[in-house]
């Protein structure tokens, strides 16, 4: 499920709760202390790290390479996980209809999903923070334009943004490049549907800081506006930004899955977690439960851990929620 609502409401909340984020000087040890005191944070951090490590190290960890068509055989198709009757130990989590090892598939799938999510989030952060800082700092017409563009963005649900980008890419890119660029198209689509959050937060902060005396003095001292924005204003919002980044990372992973569920995602020969789930949906009723539930549970575990981490960060940066 895309999280446009979170975009929307968080964006407004950013304005509403501007004051929440005022306390953002975090003493060094406080975070560590809070972290160690929260079992939820520890568990989620461990899970996140494990899954990310599994994804990064997939080429070394996975028993087979799911992209190499010659490496698996239809003869091994639909084998259940090793602990079930008929399962084989070389396929710990079973195989799909093509004889592809599910464990390898989800590791590689998570790798792809996380790559897309991270890139999308990074893209959204840079675009959103940049636009937001400039808009808040300069105000006036530029501010109005940026915020209206943000409104257009909000008016287009994330699924539609993705369709739009996908469609335009289809129209503009040379045909033979489309498949290779498919991932970046998704990154762009997901990133574009997430940037508004960042922009609103950055803008709100920039507007507040802009009128503070230290910024005034910096301006009088002749410092370059970009320098002021990056050095004086940006550090003030690292806390809230970090929270949004974490939450949006989870959103991006889910959005990718939903797009794939609707059939707009990546092709089946280089499957992300979302694509694996889409393929698995065909086996929902069939008794071959692992084809659907292995990637689905893996995805849910990943998103829950990331969200838990986000929750924890929110508490750290906003003591009132403690």
């Amino acid at each position: 499920m895309p999280r446009p609502d979170s975009r929307l409401s968080l964006a407004r909340l950013g304005a509403l709760r501007r004051q929440l984020f005022n306390r953002n000087t975090l003493r060094n040890n406080e975070g560590v202390y809070l972290f160690l005191r929260s079992p939820m944070a520890i568990v989620s951090a461990i899970m996140t790290v494990l899954i990310v490590l599994g994804a990064v190290l997939a080429p070394w960890l996975a028993p087979t390479n799911p992209y190499d068509l010659a490496s698996f055989s239809l003869m091994d198709g639909l084998l259940p996980p090793a602990w079930e009757e008929g399962g084989q130990s070389r396929f710990l989590l079973g195989t799909d209809d093509q004889g592809r090892d599910m464990l390898s598939a989800i590791l590689y799938g998570a790798r792809l999903s996380l790559t897309i999510a991270f890139l999308a989030m990074a893209f959204a952060t840079i675009l959103g923070v940049g636009a937001g800082l400039l808009a808040g700092y300069y105000g006036g017409r530029f501010d109005a334009i940026v915020m209206r563009i943000a409104d257009v963005q909000l008016a287009l649900p994330a699924i539609l943004t993705a369709l739009l980008i996908d469609g335009i890419a289809r129209g503009l890119l040379p045909r033979d490049m489309q498949e290779d660029l498919r991932m970046y198209v998704l990154v762009l689509a997901i990133g574009l549907s997430l940037w508004v959050n960042f922009a609103r937060t950055a803008r709100a902060s920039a507007m507040v800081e802009r009128n503070k005396e230290y910024v005034h003095s910096a301006i009088i001292m002749g410092q370059h506006p970009v320098r002021i924005m990056l050095i004086q204003i940006l550090p003030n919002i690292t806390g809230p930004l970090l929270v949004i980044m974490t939450v949006d990372l989870a959103s991006a992973i889910l959005l990718e899955a939903t797009l794939s569920f609707l059939g707009i995602g990546l092709p089946a020969n280089s499957p992300s977690l979302g694509t694996l789930i889409r393929i698995g949906m065909q086996y929902l009723m069939s008794g071959d439960w692992w084809i659907l539930w292995v990637p689905t549970l893996f995805l849910i575990a990943l998103v829950i851990s990331v969200n838990m981490l986000g929750d924890f960060l929110r508490q750290v940066f906003n003591p009132r929620l403690r």
């Binding site: 209809d97 009723m285 008794g287």
Partner: protein, 523 residues
């Protein structure tokens, strides 16, 4: 996590059967696609013609075994003085609104069928004129002798001239709907009582139908359900009585439950692989740029022999498909018995052929495939790609929704593609006309690769006009032989037809996937 899996699996295959609030006399069914119109001449697509055959009727119709039998016409014979056919019409037939059916309605329906906005005009390409002889006799005059004409118009449904003209629906809807897009007035066994496009359509039996009633339903309700899991859930929860199609992988699940059964048969749709015969170079290759190895028949044959069709059938198609040797399935008229052997699966021979043609290490190419058109199409393509990889053919598979697919193929952007073909006339001439003939605007409109063979182009008109069945079959055998020898296409399998229905319901599964309400009995 393991507990979760348990919960999930309990959910997925909990064996309990609960019947929903369905009354015995109301029959509810679902299909993945809604017929887009109720106008029998506006769209020539299977969901439409199949549905409307319950409401409207043609001069002839197909029985439970696909054989042609009298419907609104009682008998027909070739014209004596010119090429064409004379139809003697059934008397005393009434439309749902009480109007009488006469020969004038046939003429009207023909004129409507060949009008500019009609989508069914291809049926009448051989026809030069329709003459009303008297109220119950009508002649279809054809340009050339046309032995199969009566067989080819089973879906030509007759509309009432008075009703249609009164409602300003003389022409099939083109830009905007007409009265006939959502309302009907046929002679068929069922009449439409409610039409809510995309949501629900209701029918009740027509009291004044001329035929003998075999069914025992009092109302029939149709709902389109596009998501296959939702559809199956609706059946298993008892909310609907019948659904088609269901995914192959769910057959065991339905059969293992009390109160449900699966009807499986072979459809008439053959799935084939096509090549870019006319392309001088591959579109999508890393190592064979500037040439098109598929122009070499040895390479095409290598592709054929690399495919283990039995494994695909067993694993991907769950043993429900039927390996195919030509562009149509056995049993239909004109099937070539002499060519019913497939080239054997033989990866060794395949590698040898490739080496012979100058590609000992294979080459890479683009392979286009649909992912929402045919049963398990994407899985089949992935399995084929993996089998190709075993002999060195490196297929770069792109699977896409059908809405983008035809555009892509018409644009020539493929090196190899997947295609399914169901012969609309249930005769061997049909696939030859659309897939085998050199494209010239009139024929060969689905021959995307531009396969061309002079002899076939020469034989096609002969086949179309030949009255002697033996001579005709000889020519059809020759064409099938050429297509097979030249590996114009790689025939894969005939697609299965899987319906799921409640145990207490009897119905008839016709190979053309048409569902006729008049054969339904609820026990």
């Amino acid at each position: 996590m393991s507990k979760w899996v348990q919960v999930a699996s309990t959910l997925a295959f909990g064996g309990m059967l609960v019947s929903g609030p369905v009354m015995a006399d109301t029959f509810r069914w679902a299909n993945s696609t809604d017929p887009q119109t109720m106008d029998p001449h506006a769209v020539n697509a299977a969901p439409v013609t199949s549905f409307l055959n319950n409401v409207y009727e043609g001069l002839v119709r197909r029985d439970k075994d696909m054989a042609i039998e009298p419907s609104l016409a009682l008998s027909w014979e070739p014209l004596e003085e010119s090429a064409g056919w004379r139809f003697h019409l059934r008397e005393g037939v009434k439309y749902h609104n009480g109007n009488d059916f006469t020969a004038d309605d046939v003429l009207f329906s023909y004129e409507r069928g060949v009008s500019e906005t009609s989508d069914v005009s291809s049926w009448f390409a051989p026809v030069s004129e329709v003459v009303v002889v008297d109220d119950y006799t009508v002649d279809f005059v054809t340009h050339d002798p046309n032995p199969l004409f009566p067989d080819s118009i089973a879906n030509f449904l007759i509309m009432d001239r008075d009703w249609t003209e009164e409602n300003n629906a003389e022409l099939p809807a083109r830009e905007q709907e007409t009265h006939a897009s959502r309302n009907t007035n046929g002679t068929g066994p069922f009449r439409l009582t409610q039409r809510d496009p995309g949501v629900e359509t209701r029918l009740v039996p027509f009291d004044g139908w001329w035929g003998e009633v075999e069914h025992n339903i009092t109302e029939a309700i149709f709902t389109p359900i596009s998501n296959s899991s939702t559809g199956l859930a609706a059946l298993l929860s008892g909310e609907i009585d019948f659904i088609s199609p269901i995914p192959l992988q769910d057959i065991d699940q339905v059969e293992s439950r009390d109160g449900f059964k699966v009807l499986s048969g072979i459809e008439t749709r053959v799935i084939v692989l096509g090549f870019g015969h006319q392309h001088d170079q591959l579109n999508d290759s890393d190592d064979a740029a500037g040439e098109n190895p598929f122009q070499d028949v040895r390479v095409r044959q290598a592709a054929w022999q690399a495919i283990n069709i039995d494994a695909i059938n067993r694993v991907v198609m769950r043993g429900q498909a039927e390996p195919a040797s030509q562009l149509m399935p056995p049993g239909l008229s004109g099937y070539s018995e002499v060519n019913d052997e497939r080239l054997p699966y033989d990866p060794e021979a395949s590698r040898a052929l490739l080496a012979d043609a100058g590609y000992p290490d294979g080459f890479s190419f683009g392979f286009k495939c649909t992912n929402d058109r045919y049963l398990n199409d994407e899985s089949v393509c992935r399995a084929i790609s993996s089998m190709f990889a075993a002999v060195g053919l490196d297929a770069d598979l792109t699977a896409m929704p059908v809405r983008n697919y035809w555009d892509e193929l018409r644009g020539g952007d493929f090196d190899m593609f997947l295609l399914g073909w169901s012969p609309g006339t249930f005769d061997a001439e049909h696939p030859i006309r659309f897939l085998g003939a050199t494209p010239d605007g009139r024929v060969g409109s689905w021959n995307f690769g531009g396969y061309s063979n002079e002899r076939i182009d020469e034989l096609l008109p002969l086949v179309q006009q030949e009255l002697d069945p033996e001579q005709r079959q000889a020519w059809l055998d020759e064409i099938a032989g050429i297509l097979q020898d030249e590996v114009a296409y790689v025939p894969l399998y005939t697609q299965p037809l899987i319906w799921a229905v409640k145990e207490n319901i009897d119905l008839v599964q016709r190979p053309d996937d048409f569902f006729m309400l008049r054969w339904v009995t609820v026990n």
